[in-house]
């Protein structure tokens, strides 16, 4: 049977992608960000996952205001890299895993989470920047990726609790899949940032560090935190952090198993407008 071996959490700042694509990684400003991922790149090579289930949000690229799905699972064989207005990022296309994705959709919907199934979709920086941070600049991504897009653009977005419970349902689905796949689940977005209005540029380091602490130690309590706390304390775009709870809800310890090992933790301010947070938890 398939199993979830680890979860990865990271910000997905678009400027990080631009820094990579434009060859700015040697600049001290960006070195301070990328050095936090040196360990992670080697770790991912060693772990050799068969599939990455990647939770992210679309930023008005695949989804306009015509259709706004709260939870959308990508079931296609492949996904093109979106042109967000600056031209598509020069990164490999994303290869999907339609059979596992369809299995997860079937299982999770029967568990009362009404997913939108997407058979054609471009993927934006929300998905490709985490891959770049974790894989560098390869000719092809190391394994198939199942994109899982969460609406965090138009309020109300799903609650932390809903995301956490969804993670549990995704875990159950993956564990009932009939191939022995090593699956990782990634939660992306955050940390504190605000991109709009006179309060743009807000950063809250203490809150971010506490979020990381609580994500590790008491995710269920953290999942009870209301939206307004994210908005007020971590900025209007800090709400992206609810997506980390999907990945966390899929881990062993919150489903009757042992606590995870914290393999890596990193935090840095700033990358452009945003606080960068990153965590790797391994199941035991």
């Amino acid at each position: 049977m398939a199993r979830i071996s680890a979860s990865v959490y990271t910000s997905h700042v678009p400027a990080v992608g631009a820094a990579l694509d434009l060859g700015k990684t040697g600049e001290p400003y960006w070195q301070a960000v990328f050095k936090g991922y040196d360990f992670s790149k080697q770790w991912l090579k060693d772990q050799k996952p068969d599939v990455i289930f990647l939770v992210y949000n679309d930023h008005a690229n695949a989804f306009s205001l015509d259709i706004i799905p709260t939870f959308a699972i990508g079931t296609a064989p492949e996904f093109a890299v979106a042109d967000e207005g600056w031209g598509p990022r020069p990164v490999p296309k994303v290869i999907g895993h339609p059979r596992l994705a369809a299995h997860i959709a079937q299982s999770v919907i029967q568990d009362d989470f009404d997913l939108t199934i997407v058979n054609k979709m471009d993927v934006d920086h929300g998905l490709t920047v985490p891959l770049s941070l974790m894989c560098g600049q390869p000719q092809a991504w190391p394994c198939p990726v199942i994109p899982f897009a969460v609406n965090v653009v138009q309020y109300p977005v799903p609650s932390g609790r809903r995301c956490y419970m969804l993670g549990k349902a995704i875990r159950k689905a993956i564990e009932s899949y009939d191939e022995p796949l090593n699956v990782q689940i990634w939660g992306t977005g955050g940390m504190s940032h605000q991109l709009q209005g006179p309060r743009a540029g807000l950063i809250n380091k203490e809150w971010d560090q506490a979020f990381l602490d609580r994500l590790i130690a008491e995710p269920e309590k953290l999942a009870a935190m209301p939206h307004i706390d994210y908005v007020r304390e971590a900025g209007s775009e800090g709400i992206e952090l609810v997506m980390w709870l999907i990945a966390r809800g899929a881990m062993n310890d919150v489903n009757g198993g042992k606590p995870p090992t914290v393999r890596h933790r990193f935090y840095h301010v700033p990358a452009s407008n945003t606080a960068v947070g990153h965590l790797i938890l391994e199941n035991n």
């Binding site: 930023h59 205001l65 207005g85 709009q196 743009a200 950063i203 007020r232």
Partner: protein, 129 residues
Amino acid sequence: MSLDKPYTDVPGTTIFDADMSRQGYHLNQFCMSLMKADNRARFKANERAYLDEWPMSEEQKKAVLARDLNRCIALGGNIYFLAKIGATDGKSFQQMAGSMTGLSEEEYRNMMVGGGRPIEGNRYIGEKK
């Protein structure tokens, strides 16, 4: 019964909820159209004429022409959609975010390098620092 909107007392912040989205639908869809290179070229060639193809309010059109992002947001724009205008203008996300704060580009960049805008005094409208 009115809906619970606990986010209206956060200073300098407009939450893009279903009501704002309703008001900003055409403005945001216009922005979305700028993802196509042909449309970017047509918009740049004659901004007013391009805007007039969309059923946007005159206020929304004026805010776009003035690149007044705070005004665009007040009229239902969302920053991820408005970013398409910035991309068309060759602006980075940081330049766009900074333009809404009253700081110069350099001041905003320096604020971020210095750790960002502090949370103290920025949680509630009228909060004492």
